[in-house]
Amino acid sequence: MESKQRQDDADAWFFESFKRYTNLYMYEFEAPVDTMELLDPMSLITSGIQAYSKKCEILQLAVPPKLLPKDIEEGLCKDRDFKIISGGYSSTRIIQVQPIGADRVAVAVQSDQEGLGLFQLGNDDHGVITEEKRLQFPAEQQKLHNSSVWGPGVLATRGRKVILGDRNGSYVCQWSLDAQDKGICHPLPNQHHVLQIKKIQYWDDNVVAFCTSKGSILFYDLLQPMDKPVTTIESPPTALASDSAVLCHSFDTHPSENILGLLNSSGKFEIFDIKKPDSPVVSTILPGYDHLSVLQGKFNLQFQKLQTQSPSDYYAKFIATGFKDEMIPVYECTKAGDIRPLFTHDGHTKIVTTAMWHTASDNLLFSSSIDAVLHAWQYIENEM
């Protein structure tokens, strides 16, 4: 009887979804997806530990044509399935993947001693992803490096370059596919040794920004001496609900709008204008925020960054993930500083681990949960 009730509830949710989503697709993977990144609007990469062999499989998937905007797809029978373009295995668990060059990905794996992995993706004629080579740390760095279950650090890529931020905050190391394999290491000033780097991004070709465990955002210019950051953004400390809670921080940048957003695990959300880094233009708490703790390593703030974005009357649309629940709220931050909830995706039945925006289709997101199901959902904004 109970399962009939659950079936009916599930049916009811699906029938309701007609009004809430333009598109709603669900894919059962063989194993929960650990990492997921968009390579380009037409393909994405996932990795996960396989159920039978416990090995880490990496897959390059073609986004179902039916989800792509009209001018990209062709024909009347648009397929709604993911097609595996290529796949392969990594020797250890993959922590983070970033696309680099046109056909490769830089990969950070668990307990890595040497640096980063560079994997060659396949294509329609060649279906295997293979590890092409390792991007090694420069010799002096190898001695300092401690292998960790979280991997060597956090990654970001831009074009044919990849940068690694050391977890302990001692250095950042950049490799370029055009130069030799040796990375160039930039030690960071001493005071940051006590702070860990939580997330790193390229602001432009030469400037990187990263977020420390204290919640400050530091911008460094790789072409200039790295003895101090070119810009620092500090957010006033937050009073914690309890002493035992550890505050997690995440950030995202929107270079075309010249803004940066900060979120911490007590729900404080701020937007800074880069030209005026001293005080935030928005500082508020997310509406209805009630999470006491977040998932280590999964806490993330992500702005919507469409390839063709017209100027808007809001700062950004964004999502936040890494909470121990099954919902994904979508917000908009208006220029007046209000956080408007646009939508909440509640289709997952278990804890959500990753989510990301698509860069070409408006309102399209991918999300995955620990029950090995990946959702592709395109929402219709709530009527306010």
């Binding site: 009811a12 669900m26 894919y27 059962e28 396989q50 499989e57 709604r80 399935d81 097609k83 060649h126």
Partner: protein
């Protein structure tokens, strides 16, 4: 004899047809005998002359034919093969397949002959003759085709009566899946197989590199489209194959109409499809648990909202939904309805499956707005054309699940994408540590196996070992050792103990003893030499008993090794020292001998 050979008979890599030749343990079996719907010419049937190269008849060559389910790409060429090429051997399929196959074959025959005037096609009489050769099988029931060849059917889901077959000859076994589905749907269960560990698993892999959208989401889209259309007063035409997805969609619409309290009429074309529903009732045990349970109270195939259609309803005003055959709009009622409804843009046609090229269905799916029919009539297509794929096939995850269930030693994929072969081989190898093959059509793939050889063993030997093993302290790493004689005769192989073996063969037990001789130079009596040697041996062999048995004989460890000293004739000083041991004590014997060599020095 320990090789399995597979040859897919086909033309091209497309979804066309299934017809696989299996050579196992000296037997030849044909798995499925499908027709390719896309070719109007001789390519539609497999080339059966390739099988024997005209050296012998199919009846002589094939031990049996197995058909997995009633889809025409798996059984469409059967009457052609049995009646026009000639085959009189047994054909195996499940009961529902046997009941439904002739209907689809007849249906197809009418279209091909009437439409194309193809006189090379088989006749109705031939279909009936062909079906007389069919032996129906039940699920999970072992059937001996002859003394050595055994087959067994397993539930495959996919469509009513679809089965996966296990084929065993002696120690070699193969499982052929046909089309199957690992997730249950509204009217059929999911495929199931036990851990039979076949030497080879042959599986369809059309979707091996696809991760399919869930059924729920497909249904959601289907219902959304239908609801939107009828809300606007439009008519929805759903061309279906007589059996299969039609039932699934009916159940889905009925559930939705009930829940949303909709009043728009839904119709199901009468005649053939009523018969189809009757077949479902007849084979209710082949459906899933839910339907079986509710069947007792209320027949799941009697719908509240779905009524039989009459041609006169075509022009009824207002919204309606109609399921009509055939599925590709190439003839019959569905084409008739299409012609009348196509010009209204409020209407919609939803194609629920694959359409062979050349049919009206495939033309409108490729976007044609003006379609020319058989009689030259041109239809303006203003109605919306939608495609919903509901086919229940196993995808990447499903194939891995099946391999995990039955644990084959090798996997062979048919109908897969050649470009992805390397990826699949690596994946199956990494996940399960087994080999994966993907032969091209017409290519023979040979799989070597390591068959097990069964050996009987005498109970007393096993018990003896058990007793000795239990006497020692428990140690999971200690090997279990059995000492015996392997006898091969017409009855087979067996291991017995030495006494039984010698009795059986009628030969007394022989023992082999080795003797090595040395010459010592020693003054004095023999006994002096004996004592000297015994002294050395006692010192060196501390954990063995060394006894002086007499003045010229020493025993080591209860006569396992003996040392005899005897005088050399015609010599005052020379003494011959002979060390003797049995074959089992070779190590000890050589050791003692080596010791004596050192003593001599």
């Amino acid at each position: 004899m320990s090789e399995i050979k597979i040859t897919p008979l086909g033309a091209g890599q497309d979804v066309g047809r299934s017809c696989i030749l299996l050579h196992i343990g000296g037997k030849n079996i044909m798995l499925d005998c499908g027709m390719h719907m896309g070719y109007p010419d001789e390519r539609k049937f497999p080339d059966f002359s390739l099988i024997t190269n005209n050296k012998m008849t199919l009846t002589e060559y094939l031990d049996c034919v197995i058909i997995s389910h009633f889809h025409l790409d798996h059984c469409g060429a059967l009457p052609f093969m049995t009646e026009m090429v000639g085959y009189n051997g047994p054909i195996y399929m499940t009961h529902p397949t046997k009941a439904i196959c002739p209907i689809l074959l007849e249906d197809m025959r009418k279209v091909v002959v009437d439409r194309k005037g193809d006189r090379e096609f088989f006749t109705s009489a031939q279909i009936k003759e062909c079906m007389k050769k069919v032996v129906p099988v039940n699920l999970h029931q072992s059937l001996m085709v002859d003394e050595e060849l055994e087959i067994k059917a397993y539930y495959a889901g996919h469509v009513l009566g679809a089965a996966m077959f296990s084929i065993k000859v002696g120690q070699l076994s193969t499982v052929y899946t046909g089309d199957y589905n690992m997730t249950p749907d509204r009217h059929l269960g999911a495929a199931w197989i036990d851990r039979c560990r076949p030497d080879l698993l042959i599986t369809e892999s059309t979707y091996a590199t696809t991760i399919r959208d869930s059924k729920r989401c497909r249904e959601r889209d289907f219902l959304k489209k239908v609801h939107n259309c009828v809300d606007n007063g439009g008519k929805v035409l759903i061309p279906v194959f007589a059996l299969g997805r039609a039932q699934e969609l009916c159940i889905l619409l009925e559930t939705y109409w009930e829940r949303m309290n909709l009043k728009v009429p839904i119709f199901f074309a009468a005649g053939l499809t009523e018969k189809a529903n009757n077949y479902y009732k007849m084979f209710i045990t082949w459906t899933n648990q839910k339907i079986k349970k509710t069947f007792v109270q209320r027949n799941m195939f009697d719908f509240n909202h779905i009524k039989p259609f009459d041609k006169s309803f075509i022009d009824n005003p207002g919204a309606m939904v109609v399921f009509a055959t055939p599925g590709m709009l190439h003839a019959g009622l569905s084409l008739q309805i299409f012609k009348r409804w196509a010009s209204n843009e409020n209407n919609m046609v939803i194609m629920p499956g694959y359409c062979v090229s050349g049919t009206v269905g495939s033309k409108i799916l490729s976007g044609q707005k003006k379609v020319e029919l058989e009689n030259g009539h041109v239809v303006d297509v203003k109605m919306a054309v939608e495609y919903m794929s509901f086919s229940a096939h196993a995808d990447a995850k499903g194939i891995m699940q099946l391999i995990h269930y039955c644990q084959p030693k090798n996997v062979l994929l048919v109908h897969g994408e050649a470009a992805k072969m390397e990826f699949l081989q690596q994946k199956i190898n990494k996940e399960f540590g087994i080999q994966c093959y993907m032969p091209a059509n017409g290519e023979t793939c040979t799989i070597s196996t390591n068959p097990d050889i069964p050996v009987d063993i005498q109970l007393s030997i096993v018990k003896k070992e058990q007793t000795e093993y239990d006497l020692q302290p428990p140690d999971p790493k200690r090997q279990r050792l059995i000492h015996g004689v392997l006898i091969m005769n017409e009855e087979g192989l067996k291991i017995v103990d030495i006494e039984s073996a010698s009795q059986e063969i009628g030969m007394p037990r022989h023992t082999i003893r080795f003797t090595e001789k040395l010459v010592f130079r020693e003054f004095g009596a023999i006994s002096r030499t004996t004592d000297k040697i015994a002294h050395v041996l006692k010192n060196k062999l501390t954990d063995l008993t060394v006894e002086v048995l007499s003045e010229n004989e020493i025993s080591i460890s209860q006569k396992r090794v003996t040392v005899r000293i005897s005088p050399v004739p015609k010599s005052e000083t020379e003494k011959e020292v002979a060390t003797t041991w049995g074959m089992e004590d070779d190590e000890l014997g050589s050791f003692v001998f080596a010791l004596l060599l050192t003593v001599r020095k």
